[in-house]
Every structure is written in C-alpha cells, then in structure tokens.
C-alpha cells in the first residue's frame, strides 16, 4: 500500500512553524518512512498531483493568493490542520486589522521612514496579490479540521499530531505540549 501523503504551506506566516516542524531532528528519517510529500516548501513542489491525507497550514489569510492556496489545500486534503497562532487566529499579521487599509498601505509604500517611492503610488502590478480588508484565520475561509496552538507549536507537538493523523490513531497531546505560559 502506498504511504499517506502530507502537504504543507506557509500563508501569512513567518515560516517559524515550518522551522519548528524541521526541529523534529533525526525523526525526519522516520518521517520519510511514514509519509510521502505533496506540495510543500520543503520539497518546493507547487501543485497537487493527487489527494493528500493531511495538509498542514501555517499562517492565516492576508491576501487573495493566500486564499487561493488555502482553498486548493481544502480541495485536495482529507484533513486540514491550522498550525500555529497565525493560522488559528491571525497572529501577528492580524495586528494590521487595527489600522485602516489606507493608513497601512500609506505607511508601507509612501510615508514610512525608509520608503523610497518616487511614484508616490501604491504598487498596482497585477502580479501582486491584492490584500484582504482584514487578515483572517484559516477557519474563516475554509473548513478546518484541527487547530494546533502555539507560536510556533513545538516540534514534539507537530510530530505527535501528524503521526496520529496519518495513522488514524487518537491524537494525544500531553498538557505540557500545548501549555504556553
């Protein structure tokens, strides 16, 4: 039987959750025994070729491209996991929800102390994804099956959750793994 497939992506996140994932250290050898990888920053595959058992999503949705990727993950993954605070609640990027979009873009592209922008305009290149009015956690955009808290969740937590999900075992996350104070 073929191995279950896992896909991962980083939306509006800092890649910290992926770094934490890689902190599983030598267990990475077990991982390649256990699963195959679909699209992921780890293998730089961009597109789904077939269904995946589990999708791990880092980061929330800040722009239209994030939404596109997240919806693609929803379509191709049996189980979707929001990994880390950006994915589960918007996290640091969502702090921009407290200021208006105009003010935010003005500061970023026109008035910020380190900005050099002789055009005096917000970039409008079609290649640039448009920002959403508010940064949203993933479950506001698609159905999410599991939330893994932490900023980032520890390698042990990600490992425990992933192993359980790919092997259909109950997820056991001891209190120490999800306690953050």
């Amino acid at each position: 039987m073929s191995k279950p497939k896992v896909a991962t992506c980083s939306l509006a996140g800092c890649f910290g959750c992926h770094m934490s994932f890689l902190d599983i250290d030598e267990r990475i050898l077990q991982l390649v025994e256990l699963v195959d990888f679909g699209p992921s920053p780890i293998n730089d595959l961009k597109h789904f070729t077939d269904r995946c058992r589990v999708g791990l999503v880092e980061g929330g949705c800040a722009n239209a491209e994030n939404v596109r990727v997240l919806r693609e993950f929803r379509t191709h993954c049996d189980i979707l996991v929001s990994m880390g605070y950006c994915a589960t609640s918007g996290g640091i990027p969502a702090m921009r929800n407290l200021v208006s979009m105009e003010e935010c873009l003005r500061e970023a592209y026109m008035e910020g102390p380190s900005v050099h922008n002789p055009t005096g305009r917000v970039p409008g290149d079609l290649e640039l994804p448009l920002l959403l009015d508010k940064v949203r956690p993933c479950h506001e955009v698609v159905k999410i099956d599991y939330h893994l808290p932490g900023c980032p969740p520890s390698a042990d937590a990600i490992w425990a959750a992933l192993c359980a999900l790919v092997s259909d075992a109950p997820i056991e996350l001891p209190y120490q793994l999800i306690k953050y104070d």
Binding site: R74, L105, G124, L128, L130, D133, E140, K143
Partner: protein, 608 residues
C-alpha cells in the same frame, strides 16, 4: 479654559456638595446646560470633587445618555428594539431621517437636533416610541415624526408637541405625558386601591423581626427577575454589621419588553415608597434611594412631589408616624441609559458615581454594598407588594397564587397581541391563559422574560408562569406566525453586545461573536456547524460570565435552538467544497483594488 464651562461645572459640582459619589447628577446637570460634557469640564469636575480625571472620564464614557461632544440641542432617541421593528420602526426612522436631512446617529448642521437610536424605553405596549429630550412619544408614525421635527424647528419645547395626554396620572400636571397605562387586567393586589399609610402603621405596630416574619410567611419573592425570597434578603441585611444601611428601589426596568414598573410608578408611587419605608424599618436603614432609569425622567417631578407630600404628612423624615425611634427618607437617583445598571451590583456602583460594572460577589450587597454599607436592593413591584402584604396580611397574599405558588405577578405583554399592556395574574397561571387574555391566540413563539428570557413554542404553552417553571421578571413578548425566530434572536444579540459592560471576557467577546455568527445565519451564509458553535459559545458564556447579563445573554438563543431548531436549519447550508460561505473574496479585496487603482480586480480573481 472657557470661563462659561468652568462656571457651569463648578455650579453643578457645588449643587451636589462637590461629592464625587454624585457624579451622575453632576454630569446630568452639565449636560442639561451645555448639551454635552466638554473635555474642559472633565478637568474642572476632577478639581472640584477630588476625583481623578480618568474616573470622571470613565463614568462619562460608560453611559449612553452622556456625550463628550455636542449631539444636538435636542436629542431624539428612537427606540430600536424588536417590538418597534414589528410596528413600523423602519418607516418612522426613515421619516425622521428625511425630515431632519441627516442619517441615524447624526446631528443637523445647525447643531439643533440630533437623532440617536436607543434600546427599549419601556413603552413596548405602545411602540414605536421615542424620547425627545426627556419627553416620551408613543405610537409613532411617519406623519407624527414629521410633525415632531416641524414643531422642534418652529422652536417648540418637546413637551408642547404632545397632542393628547394619556390616562390616569399620565395626565397629572407634573407628568403630562402621552403615555398610556394600558392596564388590561387589574388583579387582586397591585392594581387596586389601598389606604395610604395603613401598611406603615401596621408595620410600626410590630417589631422589625415580626415585619420580616410577615414577609416570609407571605412567601414573597423578588419580582426583578431572580426571584430571591425577600424576607430572607432583609434578614441578612438586618443582621449585617454597620451603622449605616440603605434600601434601594430598582426602577431601572431595562429588560426589553418590560414596562410594568413604569405603570406602578405612575399609578401607585405611594405604595412603592411605603414598601421602601417598611423595608427600612425592618432592616434598620434610615436612607432609601430610588434608582430611576433615565428613560423615565419624565416621571421625576411627579415622584419628587409625592416624596414631598409624604414628608409633609409624616410618612417620611424623622419620627415617622410619631415613632421617635424610626426615621427614613428617600432620594431619587437618575440613571443615564445603561441596561446593566439594573443588575444590583452595577446599580450600586452607579449610585456611587462610577461606571456600572458589577462587582464580584461575595461580598453580597446585604453585607457590603453601596460605599461598603449593607444594602438591600428590591424591585419596584416587590416593594409595592410588601405594602400590600402589610396592609392585608400574609395569608391573604399567599392564598392568591395557584398551583402552590404564592401571590400574583405583573406581566408586561407586547408583540403580536391585540391587547398589549399590563396584566396582574396569580402566579401559577398557564401561559396559554395569558395569551388568550391578551389576544395573542395566534402566537407561534413567545419570549418569556424579555430579551434575556426563554423562547417557548406551542408545546410549552401549558407551562405555568411562576418562579419555578416559566420564570419572568414580567416581560412576555408574543410573536405570530409571520415572524422569524432566528431574526428576532439576531436583533437581540445586538442589544447584548452593545450593553455588555465589557468587564469580563466571556461576555465582552462572547456577545460580539454571538452577534457575528447569528448575523451570518440570518443573512443566509451560515452553515450547520455554526449552530453547534453557537451552542458551545452560549454554554461557555452562561458558565463563565461574571454577572447576569452575560449569563442570560444566550438564553433566547439556546432555548430557541432547542425549541425552534428547524427554523435555524432552514437557513443554514454547508458548502460541498468546504469553503466558508460567509467569506466573500470579491468583497474582501475591493478596497485594496481601489487603492492600488487596479481596474481588473474581478478579472484577476476570476482567474483563480
């Protein structure tokens, strides 16, 4: 600093002896003279009262009827509540907006008239209703809205625009309100005449302990909603230690759909004040405070006059009825537009001049309440019943109930019924009988207990109105077959989100989440999972909120999810792709597209 502001502020403070606990009165006075409370006044109040400026600021910001910017020389506060929406709120609102040339929330360019929305003003039996200044207008129509605006523009005082006064004391020279009592069914106790002074005479002939025993024997329970045994409350306060004790009459009546206390205060104020006096005698208190909601300010001159007469007749003041050992007096504290101030702990904070944030219990107010003194808080109706019990004896009262209940209850009926108004029924009366009485035979759903009450359907119409079955502080709102239960619940969710005092997280955040999720459902973008989410959220709020507001805010939702589930299920649908139906990508990127001057937004998104 503006010398006029300073003068008015220091006059206002001096009128209340520069006493910081009278901050609400001080703010009311400044606002009456200036139309708002400007920033300069905050500093000046702080100087006069020795309060920290931030304390003044906090109180000012908390109450809906205070404003730190000019809203208009006259403010029209249109009641925006479920019952008003049933009876033409939208058309009346549009008429006001058109006549004034401003949107809701605005002020006319000349600064003369402001238009604001406000929750239930206690006129649900004659809605749509509005306050213009402190004057009440009821049964509004687009035409009467236009007339009011024209009159104000012509320089009339709001009171001059009343065409016809209501019945009973509403026509009294000190009231002159168009409000109608709508007493539909006077019962054996409250809505009948009694002899003034008889109850106090009887009480003073007994020892305080005997008075408490009488109230206990009558099995009187609080009518404000919680149903706590009144005699027991008094006993706790009597045995509490402290030289200064107080009796509070809770006339905040903020529960949407409740208006029976308004009728009691209009027609039987003597009975309410006598009840406070008897409570004072029983507990050993010499001071009473009537906390009157700002929406009922139109009753204040009348009530002050009644108090003056009682003082003149020896029913208040020193040596009541010649009994030298007992003195008692009452003052009126006006609220300022806050529902949570009806919760007793918030009420006490409000009387201390602070924002109405309920404190944590224990200590209970009977041990340590207003300024740390043992304080009894009772509802208007409870206190009126005390007078009746002392007048005719405990057995006569307790025999009035049915099915093992004691006494009667005043109900405020409104909504889809032909005879809305006040009914006095024996406790233990089936809901069905009440619906028949008020001409609500067509009811499909009934909200028992107002916005924070329970939604029941025909299957439960045989249940009894009583503290142990269908419990209510008095509000019963009837809905006919044409009304949508989820829409009603959604409308009330706005009320709770706006009235939450914000102190504790489950309520501050929970009420907003509840409103947001219910909004999705009624807008047709909800999903079946949202119903489970709402159930879980409601349970959490009930279990973890600090006061009754947050604990009761999910009641209508949870009971309707139980009793009217199909009405919700009809509205929700899941997306086959697992995409959230409430998320609209096009809408979410519109603003960014406009800013970046990208005309091909749609084109790009379609390419997804």
């Amino acid at each position: 600093m503006d010398t006029e502001v300073r003068q008015i502020t220091s006059d206002a403070c001096r009128a209340f002896a520069n006493d910081g606990t009278r901050l609400l009165d001080i703010l009311h006075e400044i606002q009456r003279r200036l139309g708002h409370v400007p920033p300069d006044a905050i500093e000046a109040i702080a100087d006069c009262t020795s309060l920290a400026p931030v304390r003044v600021q906090q109180t000012l910001a908390f109450y809906a009827f205070f404003s730190d910017r000019p809203l208009g020389k006259v403010v029209i506060r249109l009641c925006d509540d479920v019952v008003d929406r049933m009876w033409g709120y939208d058309a009346v609102r549009a008429a006001f907006e058109k006549a004034l040339g401003i949107p809701m929330g605005g002020t006319t360019p000349d600064g003369m008239i402001g238009l604001q929305r406000t929750p239930c003003i206690g006129m649900s039996d004659q809605s749509p209703a509005a306050l213009v200044g402190t004057t009440v207008f009821t049964r509004l129509t687009p035409e009467s809205a236009e007339r009011i605006v024209a009159g104000l523009r012509a320089g009339c005082q709001p009171a001059e625009l009343i065409e016809k006064c209501g019945d009973g004391n509403n026509a009294h020279t000190l009231v002159r309100a168009m409000v109608r009592n709508n007493i539909r069914q006077p019962g054996a106790v409250l809505l009948t005449e009694g002899e003034r002074g008889a109850a106090i005479a009887n009480a003073l002939a007994m020892s305080p302990a005997e008075v408490i025993r009488t109230v206990k024997n009558a099995r009187l329970r609080g009518c404000g909603g919680a149903g706590f045994p009144t005699g027991m409350k008094w006993e706790f306060a009597r045995s509490a230690r402290g030289p200064r004790k107080l009796i509070f009459c809770n006339a905040d009546e903020g529960e949407p759909g409740t208006f029976k206390d308004r009728v009691l205060l209009t027609e039987h104020p003597n009975r309410v004040f006598a009840g406070m006096t008897i409570a004072g005698y029983a507990v050993g208190a010499a001071e009473g405070i009537l906390y009157l909601r700002a929406e009922y300010a139109y009753l204040r001159p009348f009530l002050e006059d009644i108090l003056a007469r009682r003082r003149a007749d020896g029913l208040l003041g020193n040596a009541i009825r010649g009994k030298h050992s007992f003195g008692f007096d009452i003052r009126i504290q006006l609220g300022a537009g806050s529902y949570v101030c009806g919760a007793e702990l918030a009420l006490l904070r409000s009387c201390e001049g602070g924002p109405g944030e309920p404190m944590t219990r224990p200590p209970f107010p009977v041990q340590s309440g207003y300024l740390g003194c043992p304080s009894v808080v009772n509802n208007v109706e409870t206190l009126a019943l005390v007078t009746k019990i002392l007048e005719s004896g405990a057995p006569a009262f307790s025999e009035l109930g049915e099915e093992g209940c004691s006494g009667t209850k005043l109900l405020s009926l409104s909504g889809d019924c032909t005879r809305p108004g006040v009914y006095e029924v024996p406790l233990g009366t089936p809901l069905r009988d009440v619906l028949d009485m008020c001409g609500g035979g067509d009811a499909r759903s009934v909200l028992v207990g107002g916005a924070s009450g329970r939604f029941v359907g025909p299957a439960l119409f045989d249940r009894l109105i009583s503290f142990d079955d269908l419990s209510t502080g008095g509000a019963i709102i009837v809905f006919g077959p044409q009304r949508s239960v989820p829409e009603i619940v959604e409308l009330y969710s706005h009320f709770f989100a706006e009235e939450s005092c914000g102190y504790c997280a489950p309520c501050r955040i929970g009420t907003v989440l509840l409103r947001e999720r219910l909004g999705r459902i009624v807008r047709g973008t909800g999903e079946p999972a949202d119903l489970e989410y709402l159930e879980e959220l409601g349970d959490t709020m009930k279990a973890t909120s600090r006061c009754g507001l947050g604990q009761a805010a999910p009641n209508a939702l949870l009971s309707s999810l139980k009793n009217f589930r199909p009405a919700y299920e009809e509205l929700v649908r899941s997306d086959p792709d697992g995409f959230k139906r409430a998320f609209d990508l096009d809408k979410a990127v519109t603003q960014a597209g406009e800013i970046a001057a990208r005309l091909s937004i749609r084109g790009q998104e379609v390419a997804l």
